[in-house]
Amino acid sequence: MDISPIVLFWAAIFTSNVLLTNFLGMCSYLSVSREMESAFGLGVAVIFVLTITCALNWLVYYYLLVPLNIIYLQYIIFIIVIAATVQLLELIIERFVPALYYTLGIFLPLITVNCAIFGVALFMIIRNYSFIQTIAYAAGSGIGWLLAILMLAGIRLKIKDKMIPAGLQGAGISLIVTGIMALAFIGFSGIVNVQ
């Protein structure tokens, strides 16, 4: 694929937002979007982890899995790399940058199992991205994810005190809101297509 990393970066934020077009990373998106502050912390943690693990996974894929001809093991290896990296990052941040730990470090364990992280790693392989493209795409996806969760948190704060039918409270109304947000984002998709 020959798309400029810059285009890819913006595309990942708007036109192929990993959350709103692929619906990945829903679990933490729904559970940590009650407040702006924690939504922001989680979003930043996603950007951070996504960029680092995708870069690592790209290296692992092209310098280990491909030469050894074991690309069919990519799912397992990617998951292990993600889990270990997140753990390690958590330990390092907690020890050396306590201030950062208190704002985003505590979210790290939550996103070990966030499927957006894994999803982006798979997309970069399927779409044959180069290393630079991968980093741009991963960072963009993280920012797109942050954007989506911030929007949901904002909307949830607005509708917090509104009358919502009992059956739709919580995840129900959040999914409807997400659906409408996704529709709005589809409006961007004519601009550039990276799928």
């Binding site: 924690s38 093991l73 292990i80 790399v81 330990l91 704002t103 505590i106």
Partner: protein, 367 residues
């Protein structure tokens, strides 16, 4: 082919092992905070190895804060006051703490990590919380879906609790349930029986713990429980008392009344027992008999489904309409309620409407 598979597995394992080793080393050096001192209520100091959560560190010292979610930061039961050394408030705690609690430095013990010396305040009662090894001595079928289970305490062999408090029962893995779980049940025996604990447990369809109790637990089985927990107990005043409890919510009320039978009381008491049909009634003899034991006690079963002419059909439908006739002076009335959140909410609304002060309505919700 076979060799290929083996070498592939080998490579995957090598990657995993390498990462695991890096993590273990990192854990060893990065997560080593040395020995930390926890000062409790400025009276007692315990020294723990830093690096784990306050909740875990305390439980290693046999100090058990309540925790229903097992330290995931979702239930908010493990609140305690952290005076110093707790670090800044985490975004994971904030949603579970009220403005007043934030001001008083209340934190969630499962989220606070012990990294330095730390000073905390916990209610004195918590020192009383222990993990008990018990043996099942009796299982009584009270109704088709409610059992009363008596446990004899083995180690420690005596418990101090207030009538109305609850224990956390530990289930063992069974059938498809692979993990141990903890569930809270009110104690139904009286505090004077220090060597036994009785729990009343209703079978909840698909309930992990209730299914285990109803289908798997036998007399002679060893069971672990921790407790006592909770602030649902009789306030020592001379106000009239209204008890409202249905189903297995009868457990704490049974404990309270059996306790009052021992110590004696002149207070006016009314117990509303809400149930669906006559077959949901149990221990009726015992509670009817209290009308003779106490100077002023009335047992009022209210059945929502009742055919005319059956024995307990004097009052049918919901409990709410019948509360009024048993309240003399709402200002001097305390309400003790235990049951499903729906019933409690409805009854609380009615009690408030009748003029019972909000701070005199005590409840234990099956949430």
């Amino acid at each position: 082919m076979f060799l290929q598979i083996l070498s592939d597995i080998g490579t995957a394992s090598a990657v995993t092992v390498t990462l695991a080793i890096i993590l273990v080393i990192a854990q060893r050096y990065l997560n080593d905070y040395g020995d930390c001192k926890i000062s409790i209520n400025q009276k007692r100091d315990v020294t723990v190895k830093g690096g784990s959560s306050l909740l875990t560190s305390l439980s290693e010292q046999q100090i058990y804060l309540a925790s229903a979610c097992g330290g995931r930061g979702s239930c908010g039961a493990c609140k305690c006051k952290v005076e110093s050394g707790g670090g800044p408030l985490l975004p994971t705690e904030k949603p579970l703490l009220s403005a007043k609690e934030l001001q008083e430095n209340i934190r969630l013990a499962c989220q606070v990590k012990v990294k330095t010396d730390i000073s905390i305040f916990i209610p004195e009662e918590i020192f009383n919380i222990r993990r008990y090894k018990t043996v099942v001595t009796e299982i009584i079928d009270y109704t088709y879906d409610i059992k009363g289970i008596t446990f004899k305490l083995l180690e420690p062999d005596a418990v101090d609790f207030k009538a109305g408090q609850y224990m956390q029962l530990e289930t063992q893995p069974y059938n498809k349930v692979k993990q141990k779980t903890m569930r809270a049940y009110s104690i139904s025996s009286k505090p004077e029986d220090k060597n036994i604990i009785q729990l009343i447990i209703r079978l909840v369809p698909e309930g992990i713990c209730t299914t285990w109790v109803h289908k798997y637990l036998k007399v002679g089985d060893e069971v672990f429980m921790t407790g006592p927990y909770g602030d649902f107990f009789i306030r020592d005043t001379d106000a009239d008392m209204i008890y409202i409890a249905g189903g297995s919510g009868k457990a704490p009320i049974k404990s309270m009344l059996e306790h009052l039978e021992v110590v004696g009381t002149n207070r006016k008491m009314t117990y509303f027992f809400g149930a669906r049909s006559p077959e949901d009634l149990y221990l009726t003899e015992q509670f009817k008999n209290y009308e003779q034991v106490f100077p002023d006690f009335t047992y009022v079963p209210v059945l929502s489904r009742c055919d005319d002419g059956e024995k307990w059909c004097a009052r049918t439908g919901y409990i709410m309409p019948y509360l009024k006739e048993f309240i003399r002076d709402p200002q001097k009335t305390e309400a003790y309620m235990c049951g499903s959140p729906g019933m409690l909410d409805a009854c609380k609304k009615e009690l408030l409407a009748l003029g019972v002060p909000n701070d005199k309505i005590y409840f234990d919700s099956f949430a």
